[in-house]
Subunit: 299 residues, 3 copies
């Protein structure tokens, strides 16, 4: 089972920019296509004062730094040239939803969505929306944010609504969740999101490798129960090293890919191809990872 | 407005060495020249027990590790071959001036300056001195250090005295300074340095992007008032990422370059070309940044 | 005096994988050979649930992630093709010996050694065992671990037993040890290990550069006294930088190599060639370091 989707990590929280120009991105999309990627997901369209395109809505709300290149247009173009689906990631204020002001985050994003529909909604590659406000546990405001956005976004263009939450796992949290607690909590969350969110791609990097299958089986079972399509976000960066974040060890990636296949997810995506798995990556270890991955998928 | 000067970051506090040899440096200076760089500033000639050349003065003061290559001579040679101005950065003990013993730091540097004048003072590229003891707020000892060094260094060879302080900004300090406080404080500082320090190139990476123009306008106004030439040190590395420090996002660099131009500084320099903007950098993202920058300056 | 041995850092605690395949490793061993490396030391055969080969012994003990490539076999092959000696690094549970349960760590490793002897003991390159449980000060359990393993491992095949401890030095510890304390403590330790451990290669990165010679002279004197062969583990990565761990500055490496030669160690090894000194490294600064090193050894 191959990786067939990837996030596009512009705007980034924590991964340094490769500083690619249009031609570099064109080459990158070609390579993605060559190894079977048919889906790209913009991780977020904006974060605080950073934006991927010069949005009138966001600029009205607060001063934004200019986007000298319209990345949404650039990514849509490349997706279209390579027959890929594009998911648009929502704006993250970096504040309201952390301060309990979820309604402000909702309103801002609903207004943004109107502008996005008008500007890019007709584009052939525009396949869906990505709810970029990641979370790992039950929270009323957070759920309201997801429900309200999902319902409204779907009305626009009957497109797919996707999310990629994380697991409160041992590799990131001092008090990690048990599989049983996880099952109970996500059952509650999914019951709220049923019929609203179409696709859930859990991140797979927060739990111990040896616990991964147990957690992913729960995820798959719950998603099936609540009619949500299961994807897996098989992370291609290594966690738990002094340098955060660099390309993952191929042995670890293969292990996680095999777990995803065993569990029976519908699709494997990754965060993310261009820094961690691409032969064009600014990290040379990614070039080697790409070679190992290609050997494996062509075996 | 282009970047026409760069620091040379040997001896480094925090940036890993590229391990370039003489030929690598020769190629690097040629590239610098090709994009308009006419000024190079040695960030410091020594730090604790590390030195850029085997100084008798410093070795008398404390045991120093040998400098197997005379970097001052190497940089002067390359500057001369490429018709560049060279600024010599002073020695940083890493201790005295942090312990309030500024006079010891002064004496050591005055003695070093004698040796440097004798050894390199006649060199064609030797254009000035760089006061390498960076600071961000009023401090009597610090000012005495700057005044005493500036006055004496100028006597030697009527050369330029340069400084590159930082702003106590939001991106680095928990209790950041307001623009008004900054103006008041730097007015006091500049009034002490008037007629002594010739050039002030504030670092531009500690304040929010959206605050940058406000702070830089204050800097320019004050420098004009106290007859100090305004340069801007437009940093080419990214701040606030898990990996410190990697090449900046081109979008951010262009934004800061445009602010510097709007404010009307006399010259833009950077910390620093060779790790973060050079096509020879050990960080591949710098190669791409160089391409973006070249596209922009040749447009 | 050249570097003639290197660790192989798979399984790593803290250094990201280069993701090399068999061909990459073949090229790497050729380069090592070309600069005089005749000894390779597997840093550890396993760590927690990570292993370099699918060990029945370890899998019986706890669930292990699969090793998709048998790295021990791969390294032995390459060592044999290049006439090198191979040292096998023991398994590190990551827990028992930190919790005072040294006997459990011993039993596990003794059982593993039986399997290793059967599987790889006959291999031509198999020259010795490396005691991978690093330590820096006297500890009864730790010494029992070393003594028991050393005695039993030697019985197997009369091979060499090697260790590479660190010094409780200023660059890593808030309360660093003095040379006098260090001498007293390691005299006690070596007196326990005499006749059991054959080779001790102290790491050289934890003490100040200017203190290095004093500590290494003590190490050499003590090792001579207790009939242990002195090697030096001259680290090729830089310590004390914001990014841990990147290739060392050539000036620093040369300094440490010269100290090792002055002190008169029998052999210089390094942690480690492939990330920090190799022309194939994923860190470009290592390529330049290799060039500097080659210039120096061929002068």
């Amino acid at each position: 089972m191959k990786i067939t989707g990837t996030f596009l990590d512009e705007i980034s929280h924590d991964i340094p920019s490769a500083n690619w120009g249009k031609e570099d991105w064109a080459n990158e999309f070609k390579v993605m296509k060559s190894v079977g990627i048919d889906t790209v997901i913009l991780i977020r369209s904006g974060y605080k004062d950073k934006i991927t395109f010069n949005s009138k809505t966001l600029s009205k709300h607060q001063a934004m730094r200019p986007a000298y290149t319209d990345l949404v247009d650039l990514f849509l173009n490349e997706a279209e040239k390579n027959s890929m689906d594009f998911y648009f990631g929502m704006y993250d204020s970096g504040k309201y939803w952390h301060e309990g002001k979820h309604d402000k985050e909702i309103d801002l994003n609903l207004a943004l969505a109107e502008e996005v529909m008008e500007k890019y909604g007709h584009r052939k590659a525009f396949k869906g929306w990505y709810l970029s406000h990641e979370f790992e546990e039950y929270n009323e405001g957070q759920l309201r944010l997801y429900e309200k956005l999902a319902v409204r976004l779907k009305e626009f263009n009957q497109s797919s609504i996707m999310m990629s939450p994380y697991i409160k796992g041992r590799l990131q949290f001092e008090k990690p969740i048990t599989p049983m607690e996880h099952e109970k909590m996500w059952s509650q969350i999914f019951s709220s999101l049923e019929g609203k969110v179409d696709i859930c791609a859990f991140q797979d990097g927060q739990v111990d490798f040896l616990e991964l299958q147990a957690f992913m089986e729960i995820n798959k079972k719950l998603a099936d129960k609540y009619s949500i399509t299961s994807w897996s976000n098989v992370e291609t960066f290594e966690r738990g090293m002094p340098i955060n974040f660099l390309p993952i060890n191929w042995n670890n990636l293969r292990y996680k890919l095999e777990v995803a296949e065993k569990v029976g997810v519908d699709k494997i995506i990754t965060f993310e191809f261009s820094h961690f798995l691409s032969p064009h990556s600014v990290y040379p270890a990614a070039h080697n990872l790409f070679n190992r991955y290609k050997e494996w998928i062509t075996k």
